[in-house]
């Protein structure tokens, strides 16, 4: 007798050991679904939800992880302290400054680069590769070599600025000056992450079908009009997505800034994430740091939710 040809699903089913097959046989589809989803839910609860609940609990105590003393319930004292601490508001301001300007420059330059790269020209691929190089580097490496570039006596950055302005290269300190240090970290982050925004914009630009531009040409729409009525609206969801990614990333920016300035001079570039790390793992004020983390979480979560709603509205248009 010639064996009947079998489809792959039947082959896979017949490969299931008889004992397991017998066990699964009696289960409903819902139960099988739970078996598959269960481990993921368990992991999610164990590594996301439980720590969050535990952090909320700790935020109402005076717990210090490095001390063997009784933990006291202190109500909302940690929250009150944080929200009335002028130094923390300065950290928030420094973070807001960093966030706003990095996103502004990255979107502006990233979109411009994507627009240029999207034009067909010789060496297009090579330029794309060269432009995306910075985002492939480690933030620690980037921080270290920009530190040398900013060095007032031997740094290339100072010499380039001096070349164009006629100033003495050692007459200004990018990392040591209160006025310049916040801009120095904006420059480095922009240098590193603009390619990321560029790639997302490029994906957006390449998703616009050519026939739309052709139709616009038939309607004798100018290039400027095509740009504002076709290109920008169709790239906008991609652009907003890039802003969301960069916003969340830069809100928790740590490594690059620590390498560059360590939060200084003074506390000028001490972003909230750096300050939070100091409170949690250098001062070991665990309860206080938990409250701080919850405040930051609520801020990011709230802002991101509003933003995602706006993003969805733009997509629906």
């Amino acid at each position: 007798m010639v064996p009947m040809p079998q489809d792959p699903a039947t082959i896979a089913a017949s490969a299931t050991p008889p004992r397991v097959a017998r066990k699964i046989k009696g289960l409903s589809d819902r139960a099988i679904a739970w078996i598959f989803v269960g481990p993921t839910i368990f992991l999610l609860l164990a590594i996301n939800i439980f720590p969050l609940i535990w952090t909320i609990r700790l935020s109402f105590t005076n717990f210090k992880a490095n001390r063997n003393r009784e933990v006291e319930w202190i109500g909302t004292r940690n929250y009150e302290r944080i929200l009335t601490d002028s130094d923390i508001w300065l950290n928030m301001q420094a973070t807001a400054h960093f966030l706003f300007w990095t996103i502004f420059f990255q979107v502006l330059i990233g979109f411009t680069l994507a627009y240029l790269i999207n034009k067909k020209f010789k060496g297009n691929d090579l330029w794309t590769t060269i432009i995306v190089l910075p985002m492939m580097l480690s933030p620690a490496v980037v921080g270290n070599f920009w530190k040398f570039l900013y060095q007032p006596q031997i740094g290339l950055f100072n010499y380039i600025v001096a070349f164009f302005t006629g100033k003495d290269p050692s007459s200004f300190e990018m990392l040591g000056s209160v006025q310049l240090a916040p801009w120095s970290i904006v420059i480095v982050d922009t240098w590193m992450w603009t390619p990321f925004v560029m790639l997302i914009c490029l994906a957006g630009l390449r998703s616009i079908p050519d026939y739309i531009y052709e139709a616009a040409e038939v309607d004798r729409a100018s290039k400027l009009r095509q740009f504002f009525t076709i290109t920008i609206p169709m790239v906008l969801p991609f652009l907003m997505l890039a802003v969301l990614f960069r916003g969340i990333e830069n809100f928790k920016m740590f490594d690059l800034v620590v390498q560059l300035t360590g939060g200084g001079p003074g506390s000028t570039t001490e972003l909230t994430s750096i300050n939070l790390k100091r409170e949690a793992f250098e001062k070991w004020r665990t309860g206080y740091a938990s409250a701080y983390a919850i405040i930051l979480f609520v801020t990011v979560f709230g802002l991101a939710s509003i933003y995602v709603k706006a993003l969805n509205k733009v997509k629906e248009r």
Partner: protein, 439 residues
């Protein structure tokens, strides 16, 4: 009978096994900072390995991460280190949080007397609560913040004449903090052998302890005190006294007028680099580095000399150095204690000094030949006579980071006045001690 024999053999085997285990060789891990004296200790410890049969491993952490790494290790009850040469400020936390083994009984049993060690080092590195005969460490490495300078530049006739003309005084090792600043300002941006040089490199580092160690080297000579009455935590009027304000303003002026450009975040490494590269006429740093500096082929030998932190209203130097402790979480405490016993031996202490470590043992320090044994030995003795240390409280990290912030905000970021910086520091410290239940 057969059962009895079996039991006897088993019992004997157990005893033999336990005896073998007490005599067995352990692999001890000693943790410390990665710097010149650590290399000397590796050399010294070879003798211990030969004598005891134990082998030694070393975990040396770069200074900027030393406190973070080691305190995390202790706080998590880690078993990485059997022996730890920890900073003097950790002694309070080490004792109260149960990280360090109390050594009193061991010292009594082995005849190790704390009277054999310099009093200032025992007080600073070993005792908690401060000054009580409760010992958690053996003084391992005496240290203080001192100064070194380009002796060859100071000795040049053209430079001496220029200094005389500029200040009306002779160029010499500074006898006061203000003279130190005057000399540094004289050298600032001066052309020497076709190169622009600068006054001095001082500590301005923000992340760990740098700027605090630098500023206290000015505060102590001005008569700074942490409390109005020792042990009272009554800081208002002491920490922010007029003398403290004057000292802080002095340090800011020093930073602004007599240091190389870009020295906004410099500590030990940057100070050494600036001096060795011929950028500065003077530099502050820990005595621990002085043997290496003296041996440097380019800027050491005849080109360098050393001086103790100059006085102002009084003599005063910032204490460095560490004691060696047995970590309470170690499974090899017996072998670790053996190491301490060996290390406390006067002969070993003499060898420790000869290799470049700073012994705190009186037999070494009181030796008539000690002062002449190295060009910086006399200065070291003088410095150790007037040392002051930062808080050694269990909450020392909070106290230190608060001071780092207030000092850096004022000196480097130029925010507010010295009085405001110290007033805010009092507020920060008061909050810490309130949280600790001490106020």
């Amino acid at each position: 009978m057969k059962t009895f024999k079996l039991a006897s053999v088993s019992a004997l085997s157990l005893v033999a096994a336990s005896m073998a285990s007490t005599a067995q060789a352990d692999d001890l891990t000693l943790c410390w900072a990665a710097w010149d004296p650590a290399n000397a200790l590796v050399e010294l410890s070879k003798e211990f390995e030969e004598q005891s049969g134990h082998s030694m491993s070393f975990e040396f952490i770069p200074w900027p991460n030393f406190a973070d790494r080691m305190l995390n290790e202790l706080n998590s009850g880690g078993k990485l280190c059997d022996l730890l040469i920890g900073d003097s400020q950790w002694i309070g936390g080490g004792a109260e949080n149960g990280h360090y083994v109390k050594l009193n009984d061991f010292f009594d049993a082995e005849g190790i007397s704390m009277d054999d060690f310099a009093e200032a080092t025992v007080y600073a590195y070993s005792t908690w609560p401060k000054g009580t005969p409760n010992y958690y460490a053996l003084p391992a490495m005496g240290d203080a913040n001192g100064w070194f300078y380009r002796k060859d530049w100071f000795g040049r006739e053209d430079i001496q004449a220029a200094y005389k003309e500029a200040t009306g005084q002779d160029l010499r090792e500074p006898q006061s903090q203000k003279e130190l600043l005057q000399i540094a300002q004289f050298f600032q941006e001066r052309e020497i052998d076709g190169q622009t040089v600068y006054g001095a490199s001082i500590f301005t580092e923000r992340g760990s302890e740098g700027i605090t160690m630098g500023v206290t080297s000015a505060l102590y000579p001005w008569g700074f005190k942490y409390e109005n009455t020792p042990g009272s935590y009554d800081m208002d009027g002491a920490v922010n006294s007029p003398e403290a304000v004057e000292a802080l303003e002095f340090y800011k002026e020093f930073y602004e007028t007599a240091t190389p450009p870009g020295y906004t975040n410099s500590y030990m490494g940057e100070s050494l680099d600036a001096f060795k590269s011929g950028q500065v006429a003077m530099a502050m740093n820990w005595f621990a580095f002085f043997p290496g500096l003296y041996a440097d082929p380019n800027t050491g030998g005849d080109k360098i000399d050393f001086f103790v932190n100059p006085p102002q209203n009084q003599a005063g130097s910032t204490l460095g150095g560490q004691g060696i402790s047995v970590v309470a979480y170690s499974d090899k405490q017996d072998a670790a204690l053996e190491y301490i016993k060996w290390f406390a031996n006067p002969d070993v202490q003499a060898k420790w000094w000869s290799l470049g470590g700073y012994s705190a043992h009186n037999s070494v320090l009181n030796d008539p030949g000690f002062k002449d044994s190295a060009p910086f030995a006399g200065d070291f003795l003088e410095a150790m006579g007037g040392v002051q240390d930062f808080w050694q409280e269990p909450a020392y990290a909070e106290l230190l980071l608060a001071m780092q912030k207030r000092l850096h905000d004022y000196i480097v970021a130029d925010q507010g006045t010295a009085q405001e910086a110290l007033d805010k520091l009092v507020e920060d410290w008061t909050e810490v001690f309130e949280d600790e239940g001490k106020l």
